[in-house]
């Protein structure tokens, strides 16, 4: 996979001596511009925002509940910490196309120390709880790592915390920086993976499945736990075969006993995202799925077909990974009941995943 090289890096003058800015200045060979106040990047599209990198402080809190915990959906009590915003890759279905329309510049936050202090306070305040915390909500967890070296701050921090797991969620193979760090069983590197046809047509600029699995094998050998997110599942012609071959490829590549979890989530598209997707040049299989509007206004593959997909893929996963925990992302209790045969409480699901207990 080609490493991300922004056309230009903008750095807030006041942040020049932060570890993140120092790392980028030491590694980036292209033009670097300085600014004070707000980055002078003007109005641009989310796609244009991906071609630059802005380094600045994040104002406000870092840690929050994953927005997937929307009322009416089963939640896994996941926390997200946003240390970057936007992503250099360009998936056709990505919600950031809508979500970041007003703040599209790819940004890495420089006050990582403050973020870690905030996390530390929460972990210390609740020593009896086990937290799962991820950095991959508004950006890819590892895509900027070759420039920012963020992992060098995150992994040792979490390695020393007994009541938290860090999840680094990615579609890249940018794992070099992880290989010299000791995760002490506290770090899950997880890959979003999809049917080969979807990856080829709808996940532009990402690593191939073979590259992702090669990277997974590498980090697993260095003591990291693995996660896989089959999300978004796309209803395309031949989905049974494509997702079966995906599960087989994962099973052939990694040690099944060291997979922390699998998640499955059906493609969901809000009306503004649908508009953004319609404006894209080419439509891959994602644009062709049998999706209908749901009660929350988002389009999903219609329920019967969605259930059929979940059941089929869950069955494959359970055969290949009998001890790995599985969960559904952003699904209702009735879908959980239909697919998994139970409806866990939010707290119960979060605790099971944090403990690595199989279903």
């Amino acid at each position: 996979m080609k490493r991300f090289e922004p056309q230009v890096v903008w750095i807030d003058r006041d942040e020049l001596d932060t570890p993140i800015a120092r790392a980028v200045r030491g590694r980036f060979r292209g033009p670097i511009e300085l600014f004070s106040g707000s980055a002078p990047i003007g109005r641009r599209s989310v796609q244009d925002g991906k071609r630059m990198l802005v380094l600045q402080r994040h104002r406000g809190g870092f840690l929050r509940h994953c927005p997937a915990g929307t009322a009416g959906l089963v939640c896994c009590n996941y926390l997200v910490v946003n240390l970057a915003s936007n992503c250099p890759m360009d998936c056709s279905y990505c919600f950031l196309q809508d979500y970041l329309a007003d703040a599209p510049a790819l940004t890495a936050y420089t006050n990582v120390g403050e973020a870690l202090a905030e996390i530390d306070a929460v972990l210390r305040a609740h020593p009896e709880r086990r937290f799962r915390i991820g950095t991959g909500e508004l950006s890819d967890s590892l895509a900027l790592d070759p420039l920012t070296d963020l992992s060098a701050h995150l992994v040792p921090f979490f390695a020393a915390r007994p009541n938290a797991l860090l999840e680094l969620k990615t579609k890249t193979d940018c794992v070099d920086a992880l290989l010299d760090l000791d995760p002490c069983e506290r770090v899950v590197v997880s890959w979003s993976v999809n049917a080969p046809t979807v990856t080829a047509a709808d996940e532009l600029g990402t690593a191939t499945l073979a590259e992702r699995l090669a990277a997974a094998r590498l980090v697993q050998a260095r003591g990291y736990l693995l996660g896989f997110h089959l999300d978004p599942l796309v209803e395309l012609d031949g989905w049974e075969h494509e997702y079966a071959s995906l599960v087989e490829a994962i099973a052939a590549a990694v040690d099944a006993d060291r997979v922390a979890w699998f998640s499955l989530g059906s493609l969901r598209v809000s009306p503004p995202l649908a508009q953004a997707m319609a404006g894209r040049a080419a439509g891959g299989p994602v644009a062709a799925a049998e999706m209908v509007p749901g009660a929350d206004g988002k389009a999903r593959v219609w329920r019967g077909l969605r259930l059929r997909m979940y059941r089929t893929i869950v069955e494959r996963l359970r055969e290949a990974f009998p001890r790995a925990p599985l969960y559904l992302c952003m699904e209702t209790a009735d879908v959980w009941d239909q697919v998994m045969g139970e409806v866990p409480s939010d707290r119960g699901l979060g605790m099971r995943l944090a403990a690595g207990r199989a279903w």
């Binding site: 012609d237 508009q275 319609a278 404006g279 040049a281 439509g283 891959g284 299989p285 644009a287 062709a288 049998e290 209908v292 509007p293 749901g294 009660a295 999903r300 219609w302 329920r303 019967g304 077909l305 969605r306 259930l307 059929r308 997909m309 059941r311 009735d334 239909q338």
Partner: protein, 176 residues
């Protein structure tokens, strides 16, 4: 056909710039095929956008072009029926829906067959979730007297003792 004809049609029907932009972004064959359809059926913007959305999704599903869908056999058959404008637009939407949601349409058809097989008397309506995006089958009894309602309830109870209702829920639950 010239791009100017597309622009003229869109201007005449007050299409939003974003809609026109999507239309013009199509390859010439698709752009022209849609213009033919628009002129023939005097499509407004919402109708045009629905056709474009459907045709784009169907083209992606079948790895073909919007032009191939709009000029394909299914749409040609609708246009050849010689019905009035409103009936033709309705038939066009149905034909496009059949192409865009092939499995959903089959499931809906199967559910309608099963509902008919219940042989419910007049006065009992069966309502399925819209687009089958739900888990409930609603049955409504309309009676003008206690006796009429009792008769309907007996008929309904008898109907629900059969296997059709189980199969209806199986279809809704993706078990087919």
């Amino acid at each position: 056909m010239a791009e100017s004809a597309v622009r003229a049609y869109a201007a005449d029907k007050h299409f939003a710039p974003a809609t026109l932009e999507r239309w013009l972004a199509l390859p010439a064959a698709g752009r022209d095929a849609l213009l033919d359809l628009c002129v023939r059926l005097r499509l407004g913007e919402n109708q045009f956008r629905d056709v474009l959305d459907d045709a784009t999704a169907i083209a992606a599903r079948h790895t073909t072009t919007v032009a191939a869908i709009v000029t394909g056999a299914e749409i040609a058959a609708v246009l050849a029926r010689g019905q009035g404008r409103n009936e033709t637009i309705k038939a066009l939407k149905t034909a496009l829906r059949r192409l865009r949601y092939p499995q959903l349409v089959v499931a809906e058809q199967r559910l309608r067959e099963l509902a008919r097989a219940l042989r419910l008397p007049a006065g009992i309506d069966v309502v399925l979730p819209e687009n089958l995006e739900g888990d409930a089958v609603t049955m409504t009894l309309h009676g003008r007297s206690a006796a009429e309602l009792r008769a309907q309830a007996r008929a309904l109870a008898a109907a629900l003792a059969g296997t059709e209702i189980e199969e209806m829920f199986a279809v809704l639950e993706g078990r087919w």
